[in-house]
């Protein structure tokens, strides 16, 4: 029977529509990048730009000129190769595709930076700095928020309210750190504030089975209103000097702790090993969450209730209890992330401190495909775009408003265009009701 070869005719590959769409999408995107990089390369007159390989200007560390134009052309070459590969539809479908995207992204980033700082006309010339230290500095709310989302959604609860957890964490972190005059206590309070939001999320979604997206949106509105209101209630110095001091005179914000030796590693050293304790926590958290989710009993159960709660129930796992644990843990993470806006940076709370970063964290969850490491990578990418906004403020080649919307634009392109079809946990957002 096995001698017949009737199948050979059908072995010609059939192209699915989604595959064609993917090719078109890649060609268009790479094509746009290609055109932009080419335009930048052609418009640079003076190939020299300044680069400072340190945090600050000092006697030892002076900005050094280098041939930026060459870098732009290298980037152009990389984008060209990627474009050709996309045109002949040879972009792989595995992890290498990600590498190609990253390469194209970095090429664009480098080209844009060089172009931005080239041919300056101002009296004092601005220089390019290493974006990594400030990217990492900005990352705690995004990374911790994204991890909170991963933990919740892996357990099958949609957590839109990351923004609310960040805000509450920021506010109560500030107030409690002032009350106790301790940043440590403030961070714990921030974490607890996140847990309180998670409690409300759990109460409505797990107990009363309210639509989880709706609950999340309402919680965000509540947190925004509540923190703004409460901040307004803190008396000014004229009204009640004592209370004002008590509630808003916070200790000095967290300072970077330099790890000797490691911090002098070129490029990465200052980014990873000269940061505040909050940043170190944010950098360690992905490993912790990964370990919890994939190597422990608790994690196995969390993932089981997020994928197939009934299966978990039939082996004696209490579905809602595990979900409660997951969202409370997530709340603690996101609340701690919120502490960055107050305890971690200025010390005092500004209205709407999170400014939409909770939503970016949510996008990072999806972009990172519900995996702690992926979500962290995506969160770091968003942190980079946020850092860019600060770094690029010195030169005004592009309107600063445009730079300010860049992170959101990048989020939109990344999530809508390139995440593609991803599979969330199967029971994500579905309350578990025994029949």
């Amino acid at each position: 029977m096995s001698t017949t070869t009737t199948v050979t005719a059908s072995e010609k590959p059939v192209r699915d529509r989604t595959d064609k769409l993917r090719q078109i999408k890649l060609v268009v995107a790479f094509g746009i990048v290609w055109v932009l990089v080419l335009m930048m390369a052609l418009s640079i007159d003076n190939s020299q730009v300044l680069f400072l390989n340190a945090d600050e200007l000092s006697k030892e560390h002076q900005p050094e000129p280098f041939n930026g134009l060459r870098l732009v052309w290298i980037g152009f070459a990389i984008v060209s190769i990627a474009l050709v590969v996309a045109v002949i539809n040879r972009i792989p479908r595995n992890g290498w595709a990600m590498l190609i995207h990253v390469a194209v992204g970095l090429s664009f980033y480098a080209a844009f930076t060089v172009w931005y700082y080239a041919d300056q006309t101002a009296a004092v010339e601005a220089w390019i700095t290493n974006p990594l230290p400030s990217m990492v500095k900005y990352c705690p709310p995004l990374v911790l928020g994204a991890l909170a989302g991963v933990v919740c959604e892996r357990a099958g609860v949609i957590n839109i309210a990351i923004e609310a957890q960040l805000l509450m964490g920021a506010f109560f972190g500030a107030v409690v750190s002032a009350l106790a005059y301790s940043n440590g206590v403030g961070m714990i309070a921030a974490s607890l504030a996140g847990v309180v939001v998670a409690l409300m999320l759990g109460l409505f979604s797990l107990r009363y089975h309210v639509d989880q997206v709706v609950v999340g949106v309402v919680l965000i509105a509540l947190a925004l209103g509540l923190t703004t209101f409460l901040r307004g209630q803190i008396p000014t110095e004229q009204e009640n000097a004592h209370l004002n001091t008590l509630l808003s005179d916070s200790p000095d914000p967290l300072t970077p702790i330099e790890i000797p030796g490691l911090s002098s590693i070129p490029v990465l050293g200052r980014a990873l090993f000269n940061q505040s304790i909050l940043v170190y926590l944010a950098l360690l958290a992905p490993f912790l969450v990964w370990f919890l989710l994939y190597q422990t009993r608790w994690g196995l159960r969390v993932r089981a209730v997020g994928e197939h709660p009934k299966a978990a129930d039939t082996v004696g796992i209490r579905v809602n209890r595990v979900r409660w644990q997951a969202i409370l843990f997530g709340g603690a993470l996101a609340g701690l992330g919120g502490a960055f806006y107050t305890v971690g940076s200025s010390g005092s709370f500004n209205d709407n401190a999170a400014n939409g970063q909770g939503f970016m964290a949510l996008a990072a969850v999806i972009m990172g495909r519900w995996h702690p490491v992926g979500a962290t990578m995506a969160a770091l990418f968003f942190a980079l775009t946020a850092a860019m906004k600060d770094d690029f403020g010195l030169v005004t080649k592009v309107p600063s408003e445009l730079i300010a919307i860049a992170p959101y634009l990048a989020t939109l392109i990344a999530v809508a265009g390139f995440v593609g079809r991803v599979r969330p946990p199967a029971a994500d957002g579905q309350p578990y009701v025994k029949d």
Partner: protein, 502 residues
């Protein structure tokens, strides 16, 4: 371990799902529980497994009364259950699924779990790869994983709830071998099914349940007709009367259909066939071999990635369901509650769900309500739909009557092609007879009929020509006088036109 059930009753509101059930399962016996869909078998088992609380009555293990508040209690007492819909996490490995719920320590030891799976599978002859992802293995193997899960808990009583619904005939034989092996090692088995052949093949004792009551016990030596009569409550005909088909010209032609699903898997691979007027084409195959997608593409619910669906010389695959319906395709979907009717709509409304646009039932934007009511009354009568009134929501009817609503609607317009997917799934025997009769009548009127069913009995009863699907391909097209074993082999991917690929 002896399991005794005494006067177990479960009510849902006014409805008595189980009425004072008495049953004794002796150690090391295979006890079959035979009953139609909706007879109350699953309710009974869910009470045994701690998923439902009994309203009255008690469960005794070796003479000791026990109560199960949750599955955990039942598991600890030595009861294991293989659910009809597998309780496996698809993205987990086999070992992870088996260890879930008894991980043995806060940090996972996957090596030990895999070893435990290997030990158990050696002991009972259940071959599985502990490291394979559950979503990647065939249903037959998934079922073995379910059995392993129960055995890993040292189950003394194993409940198998409709375990054969998703299996090929060969896999069913294999499962029966496993059941005998387990029995030899002292495990009692409660085998729930509505298939008479299986009960007779493997059972030691047979209890028949009907409308929530045990109506009798029988020995495996009883004839199928006797068992069927006990199960249904009246004499039933197990075959369909039909004359030889008067085959006409091809009506619907599928040419080289290939479908790639959202996950990027090629689920239908270069399938071609034609449906001819006045003939029933049966598509046989185990669930999940591409039939669902193929059928949906015929109606335009899925656009094939390649290939054409020709009806009267026009490629209707490009348009969409509305065009296909208007072109004269009748469609009885596989999952009627999902695609067949709107459960909160009344019988009257559901009967015109795809007809309301016709001039018969509407005048521009206005519906002709009187016409729709008249239509409902006619159909209810013609198709013997048991409903309290035409305004009853379809969701509250029994499965058989829900299906009759769908069938009545599809048959109430002139058809060129009738596509029926699992037309009698979850339907009582009485309605099955009726629906089969209507399908044959439609064939005799000259319609091309395509039947998709995973139940070989149904295929044999209706089809004039049988196409067997395996792994997205039609592996062979045979005539219905083929041997059961032969078609079983085809369904398992062996033999036929492409033996090498299996």
């Amino acid at each position: 371990m002896q399991l005794q059930i005494q006067g177990l009753t479960r009510r849902f509101g006014d409805f008595v799902a189980n009425d004072a059930i008495d049953l004794t399962i002796e150690p090391g016996e295979i006890h079959c529980l035979l009953g139609e869909n909706g007879a109350g078998k699953s309710t009974l088992m869910n009470m045994l497994y701690g998923l439902l609380e009994p309203s009255e009555g008690q469960i005794l293990l070796d003479g000791e009364p026990v109560t199960f508040a949750s599955p955990k209690d039942a598991i600890n007492a030595g009861i294991g259950m293989v659910h009809q819909h597998f309780m496996l996490v698809p993205v987990f490995t086999v070992a992870e699924n088996v260890m879930l719920g008894r991980e043995g320590g806060p940090v996972l030891n996957r090596g030990a779990a895999a070893q435990r799976v290997r030990d158990l599978s050696d002991r009972y002859g259940l071959r599985v790869d502990p490291k394979a992802l559950v979503e990647d293995i065939p249903v037959g193997v998934q079922q073995r994983v379910e059995i392993l899960k129960a055995l890993a808990n040292d189950a003394k009583v194993l409940i198998l709830d409709e375990p054969t619904a998703v299996l090929t005939p060969q896999e069913i034989d294999e499962l029966m071998g496993i059941m005998r092996e387990l029995k030899a090692q002292g495990t009692s088995i409660i085998f729930i099914t509505h298939k008479l052949r299986e009960v007779k093949a493997v059972g030691d004792r047979i209890s028949v349940i009907r409308r929530g009551k045990i109506v009798g016990t029988a020995e495996p030596t009883a004839t199928e007709a006797e068992l069927a009569e006990m199960m249904v409550g009246r004499a039933v005909k197990l075959t369909v009367d039909k004359d030889a088909a008067e085959v006409g010209a091809p009506v619907l032609e599928a040419r080289n259909i290939t479908i790639i699903d959202p996950r990027g898997h090629e689920v239908v691979k270069d399938v071609s066939f034609e449906a001819r007027a006045g003939e029933v084409l049966g598509i046989a195959g185990v669930q999940g071999n591409g039939q669902t997608e193929l059928i949906k593409s015929l109606l335009g619910l899925i656009r094939p990635s390649a290939g054409e669906i020709m009806l009267d010389g026009d490629d209707i695959g490009r348009y969409g369901p509305r065009r296909s319906l208007e072109a004269g395709i009748g469609y009885i979907p596989e999952d009627r509650s999902h695609d067949g009717y709107v459960s909160s709509f009344s019988v009257r409304e559901n009967l015109v769900l795809d007809l309301y646009r016709s001039p018969e039932f509407s005048n521009g934007p206005a519906l002709k309500l009187a016409e729709i009511e008249r239509n409902a009354d006619d159909r209810i009568q013609e198709f013997d739909i048991r409903t309290t009134s035409r305004e009853t929501p379809v969701g509250s009817l029994s499965g058989g009557n829900q299906q009759k609503v769908v069938v009545a609607r599809e048959f109430s317009r002139p058809l060129k092609v009738l596509i029926a997917s699992q037309p009698t799934r979850g339907v009582d025997v009485g309605s099955i007879e009726f629906i089969h009769k209507r399908i044959i009548a439609e064939r005799d009127r000259g319609t091309a009929v395509i039947i998709v069913s995973t139940e070989l009995d149904e295929i044999f009863a209706l089809a004039d020509r049988i196409a067997v699907m395996y792994d997205g391909r039609i592996v062979d097209t045979v005539s219905p006088d083929i041997e059961r074993e032969q078609i079983g082999l085809l369904m398992a991917g062996a033999g036929g036109a492409e033996g090498g690929a299996a």
